[in-house]
């Protein structure tokens, strides 16, 4: 009986993986694109269960709003603006079989190499020992010696913003470039000034009342997830994508003309720029303080190191705030939330206005 209890997580892991394979197969084969999106949402639910069973709750918090909420909503809006069915007639069978065999061969080679990369034992099942790097991260994430530690009990947030802070800086810049690209494609579009009339626009009164109650709760929960990212699983990214769900809810249940009352596009761009400036300042704040007093410091420095003895305080009045991690979480929440709000608002502009703008541009 005890062995059955110990076997249960692995059993649920295997069943979820097989169910997700069925969902992926149905999603790719399906010709009706809306059903394909729904099958991919089912696959994302099973993947969220797999992430939870593999003991990484930070990713579950960011994966569920992104893959089950935001991405299907975006693709369904796109399908409504373009074609709904996929025309599969005319693909030669020989070329598709060739491509399938090449893909299978590539995956087997790449997968075998990945399996070998466990690097402790040449076995499929991971060993009971972790890598030396993982042991070093886990040892020093909250340690009595401040010089070698990130002073945060959350190892994942400490890695994202302290040990490997430069990676996150470049990741934020990649997201920034994607949003600039989307804004450039939509440079002459504006949401027209139309009066929002309560009776005619949007869904029924039941939906609107429920949304009015739930949207402030979602915002509060998102801010709470962002603020306690250095203590429990959470952080700026998780809070940002959870808050971005409120924008899509407002656009779908009420209408775009109601959402534009709270999130104007230019205000959202300004707040996003404020968030990005906050991230840049938090990265160099230790360096600025140190250079102005004649000491040495690194960028992205959180706690004092051996040759750079300046660092931010890690607790305020007995509560742990872990230096720059708290500031990074707050500013990243603002930047991510406003970035996705901009993209949702631009995506929901009706097609007639866009067609007029494009016809005017092409003539």
């Amino acid at each position: 009986m005890n062995e059955l209890y110990e076997l249960t997580p692995y059993l649920v892991l295997a069943i979820s993986a097989l169910a997700s394979t069925v969902a992926v197969y149905l999603a790719i084969i399906e010709k009706d694109l809306i059903k394909a999106v729904l099958y991919s949402a089912i696959q994302s639910t099973f993947y969220a269960l797999i992430f939870y069973l593999l003991m990484v709750p930070d990713i579950v918090l960011v994966y569920i709003p992104v893959s089950v909420g935001l991405l299907p909503a975006i693709i369904i809006v796109t399908i409504k603006k373009t074609e709904r069915y996929e025309d599969v007639a005319g693909i030669p069978k020989s070329s598709s079989i060739t491509i399938l065999s090449l893909v299978v061969a590539f995956t087997f080679i790449a997968g075998y190499l990945l399996v070998l990369s466990h690097a402790i034992t040449l076995d499929v099942f991971p060993s009971a020992d972790a890598r030396a790097l993982a042991k070093w991260f886990l040892n020093t994430t909250l340690w009595w010696n401040r010089m070698f530690s990130a002073m945060s009990p959350e190892a994942v947030t400490a890695i994202v913003w302290d040990y490997r802070g430069l990676d996150t800086y470049f990741e934020t810049s990649v997201m920034y470039l994607a949003i600039i690209g989307a804004l450039a494609l939509a440079r002459y579009f504006e949401i027209p000034k139309k009066e929002y009339r309560e009776e005619v626009m949007g869904m029924s009164i039941i939906g609107k009342t429920a949304t009015r109650i739930v949207v402030p709760m979602i915002l509060v929960v998102a801010i709470s997830i962002a603020l306690h990212g250095h203590l429990t699983p959470g952080g700026g990214f998780q809070g940002g994508v959870t808050a971005a769900v409120t924008v899509s809810l407002l656009i779908f249940i009420f209408s775009t003309y109601f959402a534009i009352r709270f999130f104007k596009i230019n205000t959202a761009i300004l707040l996003r720029i404020a968030g990005l400036i906050g991230i840049a300042l938090s990265a160099v704040i230790t360096a600025i303080i140190a250079f102005s007093t004649g000491q040495q410091a690194y960028i992205f420095q959180n706690q004092p190191k051996v040759i750079a003895q300046l660092g931010l305080p890690y607790e305020v009045g007995g509560n742990l705030i872990s230096g720059t991690l708290f500031l990074f979480n707050v500013f990243e929440f603002l930047a991510v939330f406003m970035g996705f709000a901009i993209l949702f608002l631009l995506l929901s502009i009706p097609e007639e206005i866009i067609r007029e703008v494009i016809r005017g541009e092409m003539e």
Binding site: L7, T21, V56, P57, D87, A128, I159, P233, F340
Partner: protein
């Protein structure tokens, strides 16, 4: 091999199959939106691979890489290091998921622009129109 290793291998092979099917979907299916859906599925499979590499075999089950006390003693740190999952893969996947969403949004804007200019989202017809 015992039951746990067998079930873990089944998970590996199921993720293999997901990668194969989504790559087939990217290359063979002609609609741009189907390619975008398959690309997002492919990205998710890669994230699962990264997390599977960082897993550990502890009896009865490993713990999350988050400490639950704020003034840990030496014994607590030793036990934490010996039973916690590797914290580096989730840090990489975290940024990956958000970048994936931003890239998919940009691709969707491109697909909408292509539809407005060419009138269709079938990639074979677009190639014929441009060539």
């Amino acid at each position: 091999m015992d039951a746990k290793a067998y079930l873990f291998t089944v998970t590996y092979i199921a993720i293999f199959a997901n990668i194969v099917i989504s790559l087939y979907g990217i290359f063979v299916r002609p609609s741009i939106i189907k390619k975008i859906i398959a690309l997002s599925i492919f990205g998710d499979c890669t994230f699962i691979y990264a997390i599977l590499i960082g897993f550990r075999k502890i009896e009865p089950y490993p713990t999350i890489p988050v400490m639950t006390v704020q003034q840990p003693s030496q014994e607590y740190i030793k036990e934490f290091v010996s039973t916690a999952v590797d914290p580096l893969p989730p840090a990489l996947v975290l940024t990956g998921v958000v970048i994936g969403l931003a890239t998919m949004l940009f691709l969707v804007f491109l697909a909408l622009q292509a539809y407005r200019v060419f009138g269709t989202l079938d990639i074979r017809k677009i190639v014929r129109m441009r060539g």
